[in-house]
Symmetry: C5
Subunit: 305 residues, 5 copies
């Protein structure tokens, strides 16, 4: 995700990395080409009695804009939900650690073991969502025996939650937690289970494919035919106005597709690495395990993964 520092509005207009321009540049060039064809062939189809005017394209363009607005709402609400779910990981884990420290202030070993599972949960969830290998992160955080058990399961992130619950269950069986105080912590694990299920849902169920398909077809065809609608009035100015309008429509379509899956590493996706890092720093700070790992920083294109 691009985290821009404050920037003068004029400079922004020439920002390449922040926009989706790189994805649609080919289609914009195609639009220039169609504009040239339109200017050349203009005389010819006027002679056939065809008067291509903006009017039908205006109706179509506005309809498409309305549908693009709907599509972007759907994608953006997925982005927001994904961000909320990851926010809940931090919140629930901080509360669980606070409860441990408030209720069992002296059980430092248990604190550390449970913190390890909680930190491992967030990294494992990140790897699951980005389909990368969690082994290195798990080894860094957990004893070898547990890593083996986790990796042997088909659902490693869920297994980590089960093991964290075991630790808390053992505190209950040892009489250090009553059923009531166990229940308070169990609720936090349940919140994490909701996050896990929610992220899996977003990752496996896209916006219905037909929405993507219908919109892309109509947007692409609209942009391709647009020069023919404009050439009657604009003549040599056709390429400029046509590319401008096409940029507006294509970039909104492209961004909607990018936001639909917010767990990737593109410029507008969530910075899961930085979030896991934040979670780890918070939980270690709360249990006094210093020094904390370094804060992750955006790269030179202001991109944070």
């Amino acid at each position: 995700m691009i985290i821009r520092p404050e920037q003068h509005w004029f400079l922004r207009l020439f920002d390449w990395h922040g926009s989706v321009l790189s994805k649609i540049i080919f289609r914009l060039l195609l639009n220039v080409l169609m504009s040239i064809i339109a200017i050349i062939s203009y005389q010819w189809y006027e002679q056939l009695g065809i008067h291509l005017t903006v009017a039908p394209f205006s109706l179509l363009g506005i309809a498409i804009a309305i549908f693009l607005g709907f599509r972007n709402s759907a994608s953006y609400s997925r982005f927001v939900e994904a961000r909320n779910l990851w926010g809940t990981v931090l919140i629930a884990e901080r509360t669980l650690v606070r409860q441990l420290r408030n209720i069992l202030p002296a059980e430092h070993d248990a604190h550390r073991r449970i913190v390890s599972y909680l930190v491992a949960f967030s990294w494992s969830l990140k790897h699951q969502l980005r389909k990368t290998d969690p082994t290195a992160d798990l080894r860094r955080l957990l004893p070898e025996e547990r890593v083996t058990e986790i990796l042997a399961s088909s659902m490693p992130t869920n297994r980590i939650l089960l093991l964290a619950g075991n630790e808390i269950g053992q505190l209950r069986e040892a009489g250090k937690l009553s059923d009531i105080t166990y229940g308070l912590m169990d609720n936090k694990l349940d919140e994490l289970a909701h996050v896990l299920g929610g992220c899996e849902r977003l990752a496996t169920t896209p916006v219905p494919f037909a929405y993507t398909l219908i919109l892309q077809r109509t947007v692409y065809l609209f942009c391709t035919l647009l020069p023919f609608a404009l050439v009657g009035d604009l003549h040599y100015m056709t390429p400029f106005v046509s590319v401008f309008i096409s940029y507006t429509f294509l970039s909104w379509d492209s961004l909607a597709e990018e936001l639909e899956d917010p767990f990737g590493t593109a410029a507008n996706d969530l910075p899961l690495n930085a979030m896991c890092n934040t979670i780890e720093r918070n939980l270690l700070d709360m249990t006094g395990q210093h020094p904390l790992p370094e804060t992750l920083r955006p790269d030179r294109y202001f991109n944070l993964t």
Copy 2:
């Protein structure tokens, strides 16, 4: 539901199975026919002093697009709610099994019995929503005696929940669960009851029928009359532009209707079989019952039911 692998945008334009094109092809052909009639009869009604222009159709088309946007929002939010409800089945059942293992780590028999009910709950819910026969799946999962009791009830899925609750209630009566820890698990059954009620609500209460009717009437009539509005300017190009605009409107209307009932087996419906399979795999994995059933995969048209 169609789960598309990454695909070049150009290839997508020719994707037949992913779109709703098969449903509206007849109406698009009707549109071509009307365009031809419009071209032929054009001279005739000009002589009557009638100048059909795009302007009134532009107003109407934009109004219809706004209403289509509203209708699609309504349908899509049903789709999203249905998906969330099924996500909650997985989440609540995983948490319930985790609680069983954390609180009563040694009660392996109870784990298995309760897991059987939970898995049966999801398959039975699927069969109820798709109006198919649950007997085979129930027999696979539960003892014959229970299957008989469940099928004798008018509400079999609800009865499974009652029986699962009985198992947990018996653990409480046997003193293995306190009222507090019983309450934690009872909450999870309550979440499942909310899912059951929510799915039944979506299945029995469609978007008010008049919305469907009014929109379809106006969309169809609009598309049918459109060639007459375009022919004055476009002449021989009328069929192409008319079919393009009609495709945009008809496909959005058609998709809204398909998404409205997300429990079917069409290309844009929820893959309930795959979800039940995921739930079963998760719960068996958590209680160490190997081997797990195979993951369901999309068919050759990328369709997952």
Copy 3:
């Protein structure tokens, strides 16, 4: 509420009962009349230097369509909320009965008494919302003494909840429920109290009256004047296009008003009778009280009340 079986799209276009056509037919005929006046008077106001064109009506029509979209969203979200509230009655009551059976499996008399109150709650709520007399339904379900007490109160549905709570409170006082298990059931009564309060809120607080008034005024005036805007271009075709556009606007306005109060018995209102019937059947099934009452079915116009 109309529950349509699957139907060919072509037949739908001629469906009279499903649409709001019967409500707006008079205004559509008025529109035809205005169109004829427009055609006749056309020469006359052209001579006065007045050129009525579609352009200002296009601006106005689109603005009205945007506001109609907003108004329909508001009405539809009331419809959805009403349906969700009634869905919660079923869910909460099923859970409460399940808890009774899981926690106190042997207290059959208490089960039946509480089920009677729960069923009576839903029928009484229906009568309250539709302003009909609940006496017959209450007598069918509850002992005479209780019916008298309930009808003596100014808020009979709320009184039923109080009496159901008394039954559960007596189980607590008799030591059959602990405070914890009492609390689980008290939560369900609280959910029912939220439903009751929510339904009362929807029934007594409409969408602000000015929305209805402003929209109707502008829609009616817009439709009335529309023929004068169209007649310049369309001439003899004016009535057809004018009625078509008016149908679109009037039917959306009319439907928004119908959905705003979803507790009536019109074609697009909620089938409260069928829902009460479903609730009764479910609770009786769960407590083994056979035979269940018959399922309510739609009438010959597919209308379910």
Copy 4:
């Protein structure tokens, strides 16, 4: 708030009190004036080579309509939230009284004392939101000593909640409520605290002032200039169409502003007096304190405050 009985649609068109017409009548007259100026000056600016057409105003008008739609959504959602908060007062207080009666059926004195505080809470909240003096209502409901304490605080409504909690806390200390049953009632007081905080939030934080300002400026300027855009085509008809379009825009803007603060006493604000009366009637009925106060009724303009 205006609560209209059923009324024929034709009569509605002439309803003065229900609409916001009284607020915008001056601006509509201004519009008529501008129309006359436009008709008179028309020749003059045509000679300067200026052709004011509807086209740029059409673009601007639709943009403004979209923003008005957004602004109305924001205001209406505040109205709905305010109504929901007041609905929650009724629901939470009814549940709290039901719990008192179910758990402590014999403590009639405590019932009455707590009911007095709950009723006082709703009246005091009303007075706080409308910035009126609560003394008379508090004196009617509570002993003098408590009224003094409440009025001495800077936050009287919050103080009432604290005192109600004291009553319940004393029942706990006296051993009549266990910690569990105390907790059930404490949750209801927490719901009331959420209502109090929510209402204070709505009352002190308006929709950002710039939205109001930008929209009003553009709407007023748009309506003022509109006659000049219409006069070219419409000539003598300019005032009629111009006033019609202006009415649509001005009334939506005006209504958005009225709904933004739903706690006033205007025609579209919430009837807080009637709601407090309903709450009082409900709680007295539940504790058998007869006779109940009279139901408040709308005045002759159907206005309920």
Copy 5:
């Protein structure tokens, strides 16, 4: 945030501080410049056969307005969420103090210590969100030892929550709170943890940068080219209409950007200082610590920070 007293609508039109006018004045002047260039160069590009008409700009302008509507919804919902989160601070802290007073009426020292932490939490959160130094406020409220510990942590606000929890945990260990009553208060700390996490989320995750970028580019370019589209019809009137349309679009874009980060000190941001002051006054009033600090008041431009 600007909190305007009631003001005549006519005066509002000249309000400078309340609007975002100061931010866009430069771009509006640029627009005037482009209009003059358009008027001068008009003859020249007409000779090239280029007829710049409003039609393509109308299509583009409406599409941009739809996207601006979407962008403003996204920004405004962040503003509303931020306000709700801060409302929850007040609500949760008031409830926690009420619980302390209701359950432990005699523990005045504990009340004051916990109130100090709760007040410090809100000020510290404000400083964290505005990136200012919390030291002075912390010193004012907490003992030096605790201030040192808090400032030594990388997450001071979260640390305050941990310390507040310690106080409540010690009451539990001292036997003054049961696990049940401890749990009631722990829930309130959990609500505060949700607020903290939610505010951090809003502060660190903007609306995807590409939305800002694409919209600003298209809005700026649209406004820059607009005079050329208008000059054909409007001639000398071009600057006026062009600036008017540009003002509408630029101010909505500018406001969306301002609302996106609601924690700043601009005219449309949340008045965090005033909110912290309100919280402090409420908690001190509830525990009888007089005199209360003064209420913060808006400055002479009605601005409350």
